[in-house]
Amino acid sequence: MKIGWLEVTVASIFIVIFLTLIFSRGSNWLEPKFWRNAAIFSGVIMTIFLIFLTFDTHRYINMGGINVPEPDVINNKILYVYDDAKGYYVPKIEGQEGFFGKIWSKEEASALIDKGKKTIQSRNCMDCHTLLGNGAYYAPDLTKAWLDPKWEQLIMPVVGKSMKEEAMATWLQNPDKYPTWTRKMPNLRLTPEEAKAVVAYLKYMSAIYTNGFPDHFGVAAK
């Protein structure tokens, strides 16, 4: 079943008003009782709608769901392309290209993504960067960071690696050694395994369907 936002909006408001009026029969609208009923029904009905929508949303946001890929998506080539029907940019997952020169099994990829997520949390990435647009604003947004042209244009030549994954991992372990402007990223003492896992997580995150955010990433405005 596909849920329409307008139906949800109209239905939730209608039910709150309907129940309030039914249960407040006989009392004046200026009386406390009327507004107490309104308060109770708005709280209860909106919560019920939220729970219902939460179940439906999980169909989209579970790994392997409609919008969020399985961890082994790191094996695939990922693009961010304009969708004519939608009118915004969407991730496009193409054939296998490998990651760090190999194809990762489902289990290996899951373990790597798990390590990446724990590493991202343990280093407080979110208190400088934004991930999926959420976090702090002291450093660039990482939602589609895997697709950032700077890796090819600047980082690969500077760290002397010809493979993008390796260049990213090397840079992440020594960000203070290769500053890109006056505001440096501190050295967060990532181990080689952690750096690899973080790169995997960035690639994985870039494959999440985010309703067009950020708009035209990596493409100059037309």
Partner: protein, 483 residues
């Protein structure tokens, strides 16, 4: 004058710690503000990520401590009896303070750890606003349960429930319960952020707003002698509107995190209505104050109530609305626009409310040593509170305006034109509009800290002054209309 209830003594302790953490919040905020201007400042010692975490965590914790303190202050008066289980309440307070101290020391001196479970349990969970490690989460839940028990058990023992306490109990249950949604780990960042917002949004845009409605209802009764029926009816209206708009308004955080497209409509629509309850709160405060012609015995508290009403509406309502529709948010999301909104909203909605309650407490405490004379009324007043009040309001507006300019520039240059890349980010940060805005923000930040010092001085020295000619309708520390 009556003696203080034990619960009220506990309230004073809560506020004492809260106000110290307020200062810590400001100091770490200043560090971050300096780093935006000079990135080498404390680089490698107290990096932005750590200072910023301390800035927002100190904020959340001191506001919560203030709310709990306010509850412990008003509750025994509301029920006319000592709070049940107050010894347990005091024990919980000491556990909380000890836990906060340990967490802060670990944040400052250990900062980060390897990417494993141990770090999540003992150093940081790395999730903005609720970074506290898991062991501290469990401690917070335990303390919350004690506070909840105190409130419910006191209502049961008093064998009565007022409209205000009814709302309080339901709201506290939801507020503390929601914290559990932030206490799990998943490798899936979309699921992680989905429930993370249950804590962050459903706190500040739903349960905290209702709690503030409760505290302001009490405050208006104490400051102006407003009628209970009026105050309670307005509280119901506010709860109706806050929950009616704020619960599904949660959807404005579900635009871009992997969630389905229908959240664009649901989140956009309901969050656009979220300012309405805040308008109701303004009308309520102004109406009551007008009815009683501002004849209060506690001027600083009443003025902080006004700052709360207007600050909440402007900061949370207008500044939130500015960027909540998805067609705008696509470009403004994750920019200084959010920081601009955050600064004014937290100050207006919550800081001002806590300061209002704090002045109510100070007013009553300072009346203790005074033997009232016939025909003489006492008004809590001083010059210093006016300087602190005006200073804080000017500086928060200054910071908000500066961040707004920076946010506009970022929205345009980094997101809309530049396409949000690494280089687009750098270009936007190097833009003169952004750099100048950061200087202004720092300046107003310093002014805010100076105002904080004046506030502390005033809180320590302000005294009730005898007045003869003026008509004052309320008394400092008097109990208003009983339920």
């Amino acid at each position: 004058m009556d003696k203080l209830y034990e619960s009220q003594k506990l309230a004073i302790w809560y506020f004492a710690v809260a106000i110290v953490l307020f200062g810590a919040q400001l100091l770490f905020g200043l560090v971050g503000a300096i780093q935006f201007v000079n990135p080498d400042f404390l680089f490698g010692v107290l990096d932005f990520s750590i200072g910023r975490m301390l800035h927002i965590n100190a904020l959340v914790v001191w506001l919560l401590l203030g709310f709990i303190g306010a509850i412990y202050w008003f509750l025994p008066k509301e029920f006319g009896r000592e709070v049940v289980g107050i010894k347990l309440g005091k024990l919980a307070f000491f556990i909380l303070v000890a836990a906060v101290t340990v967490v802060v020391l670990v944040y400052i001196f250990i900062q980060i750890g390897p990417g494993d479970w141990k770090t999540l349990w003992f150093i940081t969970e790395g999730r903005e606003y609720i970074e506290a490690p898991r062991w501290a989460d469990i401690g917070i839940v335990a303390v919350a349960l004690v506070v909840f028990y105190n409130v419910v058990a006191t209502a049961l023992a008093a064998k009565k429930i007022t409209g205000i306490t009814g709302v309080l109990i339901v709201d506290l249950g939801a507020l503390f319960g929601l914290y559990l949604a932030g206490m799990f780990y998943t490798p899936n960042i979309s699921v992680d952020q989905f429930y993370w917002w249950w804590v962050v949004h459903l706190w500040v845009e739903a349960t905290w707003e209702v709690l503030i409605g409760v505290l302001m209802a009490w405050s208006l009764m104490y400051l102006l002698g407003s009628s209970r029926k009026l105050v309670e009816t307005w509280l119901y209206v506010e709860v109706f509107l806050v929950f009616g708009t704020g619960i599904l308004g949660l959807g404005h955080h579900y635009f871009w995190i992997g969630t389905p497209e229908y959240w664009l409509g649901i989140g956009g629509f309901f969050s656009a209505l979220e300012p309405i309850p805040l308008v109701a709160m303004i009308i309520h405060a102004i109406y009551d104050a007008g009815m009683h012609k501002l004849r209060t015995a506690n001027r600083p508290a009443l003025f902080w109530v006004f700052a709360q009403a207007f600050g909440n509406f402007l900061g949370a309502g207008v500044w939130g609305f500015m960027q909540t529709l998805p067609q705008i948010n696509l470009y403004s999301h994750g920019t200084q626009m959010a920081a601009s909104h955050g600064h004014l909203a937290f100050f207006g909605a919550y800081v001002a409310a806590n300061l209002a309650v704090l002045y109510i407490i100070v007013g009553e405490l300072r009346m203790k040593g005074i033997t009232p004379q016939k025909g003489v009324k006492y008004v809590l007043d001083s010059k210093a509170w006016r300087y602190a009040y005006v200073g804080m309001i000017i500086s928060i507006i200054g910071m908000t305006a500066a961040l707004l300019v920076a946010g506009f520039e970022q929205t345009l240059q980094e997101r809309a034109i530049g396409g949000s890349t690494w280089q687009a980010y750098i270009d936007a940060q190097e833009h003169p509009w952004f750099k100048e805005a950061m200087l202004w923000r720092l300046g107003f930040g310093v002014l805010f800290f100076v105002s904080y010092i004046i506030l502390i001085y005033d809180l320590l020295t302000i005294k009730p002054k005898p007045v003869k000619e003026e008509e004052i309708e309320t008394e400092l520390g008097a109990v208003p209309e009983k339920a």
